[in-house]
Subunit: 287 residues, 2 copies
Amino acid sequence: MLQLQAKPVVEEIQSKTAEKTKAFTAKHGRKPKLTVVLVGENPASVIYTRKKGETAMKLGMESEIIAFPWSATPEQVRATIDRLNGDANVDGILIQRPLPPSFKEEEVLYWVSPEKDVDAFHPINAGRLMLGLPSFQPCTPAGVMEILRHYKINPSGKLACVIGRSSIVGKPMAALLLQANATVLHTHSKTPDLKAICRQADLVVAAIGKPEAIDASYIKEGAVVIDVGINRTESGKVVGDVAYDDVAQKCSAITPVPGGVGPMTIAILLQNTIWAAEQREAQKVSR
Amino acid sequence: MLQLQAKPVVEEIQSKTAEKTKAFTAKHGRKPKLTVVLVGENPASVIYTRKKGETAMKLGMESEIIAFPWSATPEQVRATIDRLNGDANVDGILIQRPLPPSFKEEEVLYWVSPEKDVDAFHPINAGRLMLGLPSFQPCTPAGVMEILRHYKINPSGKLACVIGRSSIVGKPMAALLLQANATVLHTHSKTPDLKAICRQADLVVAAIGKPEAIDASYIKEGAVVIDVGINRTESGKVVGDVAYDDVAQKCSAITPVPGGVGPMTIAILLQNTIWAAEQREAQKVSR
């Protein structure tokens, strides 16, 4: 049984990103820049935002965090995003979620201009992904694809079961697996006999946010299991959506939690940031 | 065995569209307007374009066809689309495919402005569909959903097998079925054992463009079968992707070809056109 650890994959991607960042900086006389906009002081968001900034700097990028109090209005934050959209030195913009309830997600999706949308949340980027056009990569699903690539697990021709249909993970995950020639079984809370369906799959991606909900009875002997869940139990332990110890005895490969899909997200985010910087400079030339 | 004919569904949708068109015209003092841009004289395109215009007029809309010779350049057509985008009296714009090879589809996708994009081809509309936001309906897949609704076949909880992954049918079809709470099995040319997979499905949507490729051996007893294919055999007969006579003996319901999914497309297109007109007028008020 192979444990699919993120560490070597993250190192591989970060090293490529650092190289590209160096070349970009030498060529254009400025560093690629990521700006993270944070509203409020949700402890997880604060840690995550800081980590994004630190990693960006470690890879040679410029990074900036703009913090608003939880009492900030959508208009105030929007005005800052508009300014950043027009700032020639800012390549990537990310609005950290969650946002206060006065912010309407359906509107916020449109704030960051598509060419700086390193989270790939803008509908135009969701559409480009669906249509198979070059675009920003959705961070978590693309992280899963990079793990598969690194460990030489080719989804082509495989039956891949995606559990969950969120806009951030389940739906773009299904799109990427389909693009990689997997046959995709897209399941969710309304799937009547999830166990019987899931048990057919060569590859299972669990993204439902329920601690250890997927045990060995859902898994085919020898399947590959990717656990996107990050849940904190009452005792404070971090567990995935998959019952690791149980499933590990039946599958051929599995991502641990923590140390599996989680760390991939920031690596992809920064890959998107250097891509944004390169695309923006290339467009300047072609104009 | 129930034959799922388009006729009553088309009549139902067209009658609603005609009512809305009448109310719109009375309220705004102008008719909703659909403009179809045709390049060249591909016989099928000419017939189809004319049919769209005639149906629009039958339902009380204004309709216009702008025809270019096959030798037209992308710049010429683009300039016309730009003018139409800015024309306050035009609600819906459609560029009839196929286009000459000098037109790059990846660029053409962006020409019609999203709020007049009644074909739902613009990436932003593809993204809104994927994200479950209100948007134009992709004509053929939405036509399938309307057939299911009319004949009281609820996809919720069903295992639905979509065969084919084109941007125009397969992918948006999977998105609509998922949204309707079906468990979606998305299959395609790289699916190794399509027969075994398809045979599990309660609902099969065939969109592969291969005449009569899906016979009864692919179908579960009592399944519902939707045939999106329109293929012309050497003898000139029009057949679907499903071997109708064979499958009809095993399934509980099936769409005929012709007379099944095909006629739905224009009905949805004109539903999109009145929706575009209403949305545009509502936005004028809210400004």
